[in-house]
Amino acid sequence: MPQEHRLILKNIDQPGYTPDIECYLKHGGYEVLKKALAIQPKDLPEGKKQSGPEQIRDDVKLSGLRGRGGAGFSAGLKWSFVDRRSGKPIYLICNADESEPGTFKDRQIIHKDPHQLIEGMVISCYANDVKLAYIYIRGEMPEGARILNQAIAEAKAKGFLGKNICGSGYELEIHVHRGAGAYICGEETGLIESLEGKRPYPRIKPPYFPAVLGLYLCPTIVNNVETLCHVKHIVAMGGAEYAKLGTPNNTGTRIVSLSGQVKKPGYYEIEVGKATLGELINDPAFGGGLRDGRQLKAIIPGGSSSKVLKAGERFKLKRKAEGKEVEQEVGVLDLPYDFDSLAAAGTMSGSSAIIVIDDSTDIVEALANLSEFYAHESCGQCTPCREGSLWMSKTLHRLTHGGGRAGDADYLVKIADNIPGGRTICAFGEACSWPVQSFVAKFKDDFVAKGKADEEKRAKESAAKH
């Protein structure tokens, strides 16, 4: 039976656990930071020495930690790209702009255990020689910003932030910056622009890779809230030990935001890949199944921009078993919930937000809803996404308001096909077009039927008039 494995959420929601520093310290808070700061330089075989921060960076690489924001990129590798020879300051930004529809995991940490994030950040900053870090928090989360500011003040008062942290001589300031309420600020270069006080237009890459030309054109690390919390646990356990959690290449634990038409929506922390989509939806430890009398229709597996999965779909996955690669056919509900399995199924685990859709939902209406969101959130900087996102939304609005055509399904896909695949500056192009492509591909009959019905209705009305 799959169970939750609470690492990040260990204390969260426990009776009596409060977000203040006293409570955090009582539960062993900031001990890992002290451990990190105390790591002594290690002798390497070639006679060189490896500093404490370098050892932490190595450990994070060894842990196999993948970013929990959406792209699932190796955190250790991301850190290794940082230009450490430029002579410019290195910045670290915690991306707390959690805005992907269906995602509500980071806010649990921020609201209920802010010191865990701060400890994770201080360790990550120490590991990367960062003296100034920012928490970019979503504009719609004012309470989270208040809590974080208070936590920072508390940590500072106790010597876990500011000058000479824990007597180590290491110095770090963290500032909380509130966004003004735009989904695109979650894109790391858009976030950096916003933090610099500009419109959050994502930057072109090349040349503006944050690791080289980030905030104020200095080397910058942008990590998700949950990712930074994991760093604390990696240092506590050791990278090798942490890597034993989860499955190979999909290590550690992950908080899943489960929403939609299940009995028990909520956030659940699992070992990555140790529970299947079906278990997450149906197991009493997690979603507890669909509402009575309802059938599963679709699953959006990784935040609203991930490609939709259809109930009953089957996939051929390549698996390594006993040293050999074998192909295995699995149903959608048997997909292990990890980065690689979902990618192999043509979608992604994204921000690990599962939205469950049952047969009471009009799938065209559902897509219209998503598309409206993306049309509203497109920053408008580059052409395909700016024009395409609104075009798709207008089409879907028409299709759900009596103006449909049988050909609208193909029409929609043609519009969507012009947006993704490197045609846009940032991944928003994919985010807005993938849902349209996948919904129409997998539920084409629903779209055609709706259009046809509208056409017939109009024909009848027109005949009645004449």
Binding site: I204, A375, T383, L390, R423, I425
Partner: protein
């Protein structure tokens, strides 16, 4: 302003490190580094390599003189790089050519640096499809009002539609409506519906003009270019945004609805409003000038010019232009007037003639005046015209050719220092004949509060001592000018002159750049270019000949005047040559 476009581009240091790439199969070698908009050397981009290979890459937001934005996505291309083996050596195909790994995703040619052995594919079906997709996106919400749009005929949407457009739109939704006829400032109107949001205007005014005046408001498809509330877009360089706007979104209030661009004859010319001498293109039709536009010249003005200079053309078509030769109040003709002047000058005792030339005259005219002055022993000078300058293009010296006057010996150190001598010569009766070319010597300095407005017409004159009473003492006052003024009223012999767009010639700018300009329109009535009658006068008075064409005249000057040695009219090309000043 980070770039200084008035400085000459430094010769590229050699040997230049180069990279060889293939564009659609054609090998091309480009420098590893190329100058960006500030002149800083940065890695050469794919679009530059494509241009070097003679391959057109359609683009909207890219402009070589602006920072790169990469937002229009029209220049997306596919590319591949040589595959590397584990030994970091290129893997070879069976035929010995390097194996190319095609990149999984396209890249924008404007912002992707080239690397050795790279292959750029600009004409694959996929590239064509991407361009079609971008163009379709740009057009779905566009008003398609070409018949009433000033940009029609020089619009990139129209141009690329020929290659990548569709004859019929499949867009059946309602278009996005945005504000139209927005008054952005005193000279600019914005039609937000036509705008494709390439941000060239924003980048120009922020990064070149140094006035962060424009930005974008709203989101997504509703994005709209805007000024800050209550702050007009009114710097002296705003009209450049109309030039670089690839569509009809930004239009010039001055040129709006005046003339279809395809009717305009384009003539290479030079701006006369200050000593910078921006290279310009004069747009004219049937002897009327409709607009000036900057012409690319990295040694002078990059691709920009100031609004004041650009709008300083209306006087050319003024109805009160001098059109007749007038001798002692009677309408006359050139044959009669030139004979009378020649006879008088030939008979004039040495030193009894003074000449006030103009630093708005061409090098060739000033050269001829110098010849005349030498023969007559005449004292010469020119009128200084000083206003205010800026750090970008506007020079405080409002004459276009002070260096031409200096190098030709009309005035030796600076203009105006001989004016007092001329005044006292007239006062004492030693100077009996005064020739004035293109200057109102009675015009006085303008109070500083009036300066700003007047600057746009370059009519800023410094104080000197020549008065109407003094002019009245002269036996003969010969004036050649373009427009009537206080001095022309007193002239005994009045000769109607030609504006620079009505003749050919050259100017020497403040940095010694000698640029030639061509004739766009015919002078009105009997008006003639001064060099045309000056060469007759010089022949009549000195007996020297050989100046019957502007080419011959320039080449003669280049031979005789040391500063111009080695230059030739044809060698000046479109962007000129620099002489030591």
């Amino acid at each position: 302003m980070s770039a200084a476009p008035t400085t000459e581009t430094k010769p590229t240091p050699s040997p230049v490190e180069t990279i060889t790439v293939k564009v659609d199969g054609k090998a091309v070698t480009v420098p590893k580094l190329s100058p960006d908009h500030t002149g800083t050397m940065v890695p050469t981009n794919m679009i530059q390599a494509c241009f070097a290979a003679g391959t057109t890459v359609p683009h909207y937001c890219y402009h070589p003189k602006l920072p790169i934005a990469g937002n229009c996505r029209m220049c997306l291309v596919e590319f591949g790089t040589p595959a590397m083996g584990p030994d970091r050596k290129p893997i070879l195909n069976a035929d010995g050519s390097p194996k190319i790994t095609k990149a999984p995703r396209p890249a924008i040619a404007c912002a992707t640096p080239v690397s050795p052995g790279m292959e750029i594919y600009c004409s694959t079906p996929s590239v064509k499809q991407m361009r079609e997709g971008v163009l379709e996106s740009l057009l779905i919400n566009h008003p398609l009002d070409c018949p009433i749009c000033d940009q029609a005929g020089e619009c990139k949407l129209q141009e690329y539609s020929v290659d990548y457009g569709q004859s019929a739109s499949r867009f059946v939704e309602s278009k996005v409506h945005k504000p139209k006829r927005i008054d952005l400032g005193p000279r600019i109107v914005l039609d937000a519906e036509r705008c494709i949001l390439c941000t060239r205007c924003i980048r120009f005014t922020r990064d070149v003009a140094g006035d962060d005046a424009l930005g974008i408001v709203n989101r997504g498809s509703y994005n709209t270019i805007s000024t800050f509330p209550g702050k007009p877009f009114d710097n002296n360089y705003t009209l450049n945004t109309v030039d670089i706007c690839p569509v009809g979104a930004l239009t010039s209030k001055d040129f709006r609805f005046q003339m279809r661009v395809w009717f305009l004859k384009e003539t290479k010319s030079v701006c006369t409003s200050c000593a910078t001498g921006c290279s310009i293109t004069a747009g004219s039709r049937e002897d009327k000038v409709y607009r000036y536009e900057p012409r690319e010249n990295d040694a002078v003005n990059a691709t920009w010019m100031c609004d004041a200079g650009r709008l300083n053309y209306k006087w050319i078509n003024r109805p009160d232009r001098l059109k007749d030769v007038v001798v002692r109040g009677e309408k006359s003709n050139w044959t009669f007037a030139l004979k009378e002047i020649s006879d008088q000058l030939a008979a004039a005792p040495k030193g009894s003639v003074a000449i006030i030339a103009s630093a708005r005259q061409t090098n060739e005219e000033l050269f001829l005046i110098r010849k005349l002055a030498t023969k007559l022993g005449a004292i010469t000078d020119s009128i200084p015209r000083i206003g205010s300058g800026d750090s970008l293009l506007v020079n405080a010296d409002k004459n276009p050719n002070v260096n031409g006057a200096r190098l030709n010996g009309i005035c030796f150190t600076e203009t105006g220092i001989n004016l007092a001598k001329i005044a006292s010569g007239i006062e004492q009766g030693s100077i009996k004949t005064l020739l004035v070319f293109g200057e109102d010597v009675l015009k006085r300095s303008i109070a500083s509060e009036q300066l700003k407005e007047k600057e746009t017409t370059s009519e800023v004159v410094e104080e000197h001592s020549i008065t109407a009473t003094l002019l009245g003492k002269l036996e003969t006052l010969i004036v050649s000018d373009i427009l009537p003024n206080q001095t022309t009223k007193l002239a005994h012999i009045l000769l109607p002159g030609a504006a620079h767009v009505e003749k050919r010639g050259s100017f020497t700018n403040t940095k010694g750049r000698v640029q030639k300009f061509m004739q766009a329109i015919q002078p009105p009535g009997d008006a003639r270019a001064e060099w045309e009658f000056l060469h007759e006068l010089v022949y009549n008075v000195t007996g020297q000949n050989g100046f019957k064409s502007i080419e011959g005249l320039f080449n003669q000057m280049a031979k005789e005047v040391p500063a111009y040695n080695g230059l030739s009219w044809s060698g000046l090309g479109d962007t000129g040559a620099t002489v030591a000043i």
